[in-house]
């Protein structure tokens, strides 16, 4: 292969991949509105996202699987713990994790902030994200139950 051909190979390969990527990005923007229920993106949810960021929750917890791996994933935390469960933990982590060898900092989050944070986590839990994470998947649990029943 000559250097000129190698150069054109580089240009064409890059443009093909970038073209596909940009086209799909435009389409993703179109579809993400429904997949994430953007209609439910209220002021409280947005304020809750700011609370999540203000206290740097994401460097210990993952959300949608991204972030720190030090504490449980928060994608479906609302389904697991409910609003009250989340509020209790954020308010008094020192008491809730008193006997745990891994602690959560008490950051003195206000009640209003906790309410917004819970709205945000509720909204996140409703995103249609191909049923991830597996440990919180209803479908996986239903499958397990069916398996158990069929083996009785």
């Amino acid at each position: 292969m000559s250097n000129k051909k190698a150069f054109w190979f580089f240009v064409v390969a890059t443009l093909l991949s970038a073209g596909l990527f940009i086209y799909l990005t435009v389409d993703t923007h179109r579809q993400v509105k429904h997949l994430t229920h953007e209609d439910n993106l209220t002021d409280e949810v947005i304020a809750g996202k700011k609370v999540w960021e203000k206290y740097n929750c994401n460097d210990c917890h993952t959300i949608l699987g991204f972030g720190g791996y030090y504490a449980p994933d928060m994608t479906k935390a609302y389904k697991r713990l409910g609003g009250e469960g989340i509020a209790a933990i954020v308010k008094n982590p020192d008491q809730i994790f008193a006997s745990s060898w891994r602690k959560m900092p008490n950051q003195n989050v206000s009640d209003a902030e906790i309410a917004n944070l819970t709205s945000f986590l509720k909204w996140i839990s409703e995103i249609n994200n191909n049923d991830w994470p597996p440990q919180d998947s209803d479908r996986a649990k239903a499958k397990e139950a069916l398996k158990l029943l069929s083996n009785k």
């Binding site: 190698a6 993703t28 460097d59 891994r102 602690k103 191909n130």
Partner: protein, 443 residues
């Protein structure tokens, strides 16, 4: 060193080495936190999250300073002219290091954007942009004024502009968290599997050209082919991060197919590095530089290529996503691809700063092998912890903390390897900064 302004790189590399050591110290604290019970009153003041922000931001900062120093080092030789402005280069270094220090102190007091790896508060983002613009202007002007274009220069400049442009996508506040992560990956993925690969390819091509004496035409041909393949697989390969964030289903196909091909250019890079070394025309002056260059390409393939490939398919990633498997991949890939690349360049440049033609390699070799083997140990231990987590938590549905207790032993092993790694880093940094001439040469 043929040009005076290449010496600018020395300050960049020195700061980078110190930050590298500091990064590893915070890494050890993270490692400790994974298995030891840190008291609540310490956690309240200095949580894991803050230490992680230190660890990852120091990583990004030292690697970027290394790349920038690398650009200041190779541009004069490639363009056959001095850097446009030495003052601007030092101003930029002060600006970026100042921003870094301010950000780290800020993290301690909760001044934080709250987005992993992009924690630097937004006002400081603008200072970073100014620093980047000064840098691009300085390098760009040097190249434009010299009018001595080469493929290596073009690739380097292209990679640096690509890097700077992608940073902008991480700056806005996105209301929708799914869109936020979508563009977060434009920064992170398109850096490490796009822009940084271009910079790596250019810097590595330069070092190989100089130490092997292989014809420029041959090196540049490989450079084009590798870049084409890196960007072809890497750009659409971003899709492997879009499986579970609320994006359309076709990303499972696009991400799976393109990212499975991502190891191809790395295999090619190992092959051509090996070939260039085999067909070298220059005498080997400092074998350690070769060890670093070949070691970097092999480790790059292992950490980024193989470790990436094993969990990139959606069928596997469904279970491993966001687990310690990712941590294992992250450590091996960043060390293999980018830390070793920077160190290869440092070992090429420092003897020239010191005007030492042949240096004593003993200490440097101990440093290389201590770092490389202990990082491999860390990567493997994180990997086992990841498999345990995947199976117990993701497949069997065991509680998060119950699973973590089964992983504790592996975190202890990570910590021991981490200590060894820190020793390797200290030996390497000391060796580079206090390079001594080889005994025969001195005699």
């Amino acid at each position: 060193m043929q040009y005076k302004t290449q010496g600018i790189a020395r300050s960049y590399f020195t700061v980078a080495l110190l930050l590298f050591a500091l990064q590893v110290v915070f890494g050890l604290y993270l490692g400790l936190s994974y298995f030891a019970a840190i008291p609540q009153n310490i956690v309240n003041v200095f949580p894991f999250a803050t230490a992680r922000a230190f660890h990852t931001n120091l990583l990004v900062l030292w690697l970027l300073l290394g790349f920038m120093g690398g650009a200041y080092f190779i541009t004069p030789e490639e363009t056959k002219s001095e850097i446009y402005s030495t003052k601007l280069a030092y101003l930029q270094l002060i600006l970026l290091v100042g921003t870094g220090v301010t950000a780290l102190v800020g993290f301690l007091f909760g001044w934080n954007q709250g987005r992993p790896l992009l924690e630097i508060p937004r006002p400081l983002d603008f200072v970073v942009v100014i620093g980047a613009l000064i840098f691009l202007f300085n390098i760009g002007m040097t190249m434009i004024k010299a009018r001595n274009w080469t493929a290596i220069q073009g690739t380097l400049l292209g990679g640096l502009v690509f890097l700077a442009v992608m940073y902008l996508f991480g700056m806005p506040f996105y209301k929708n968290a799914a869109i936020d992560w979508y563009y977060w990956w434009w920064v992170i993925h398109l850096w490490v599997e796009g822009a940084w690969e271009l910079i790596t390819a250019a810097l590595m091509a330069f070092v190989l050209l100089k130490i092997t004496g292989v014809e420029r035409r041959v090196v540049e041909k490989w450079l084009y082919v590798e870049m084409g393949l890196f960007l072809f697989t890497g750009i659409a390969g971003t899709g492997h991060h879009y499986y579970w964030l609320g994006a359309p289903k076709y990303w499972l196909w696009v991400g799976g197919i393109f990212s499975s091909l991502e190891p191809v250019p790395i295999v090619l890079m190992v092959y051509d590095t090996w070939n260039h070394v085999k067909e070298r025309r220059e005498q080997i002056k400092n074998p350690l530089t070769f060890v670093y260059a070949v070691g970097c390409s092999i480790y790059h393939l292992l950490g980024a290529g193989v470790w990436g490939l094993i969990h990139t398919l959606p069928q596997i990633n469904y279970y491993t996503h966001g687990s310690q498997v990712t941590v294992s991949h992250g450590h091996l890939a960043f060390f293999g691809a980018y830390a070793l690349l920077n160190l290869t360049l440092f070992y090429f440049a420092f003897p020239q700063f010191e005007r030492v033609e042949r240096y004593d390699e003993k200490r440097g070799r101990i440093g290389f092998w201590t770092m490389s083997l202990s990082m491999l140990g860390m990567g493997l231990a994180f990997g086992v912890a990841g498999v345990v987590q995947t199976y117990l938590e993701r497949v069997l549905g065991m509680d998060y903390m119950a699973t973590q207790s089964y992983m504790r032993l592996w975190f202890q092993i990570v910590f021991v390897f981490g200590l060894a790694f820190l020793i390797g880093v200290i030996i390497t940094a000391y060796d580079l900064l206090k390079l001594s001439p080889a005994k025969e040469a001195a005699a």
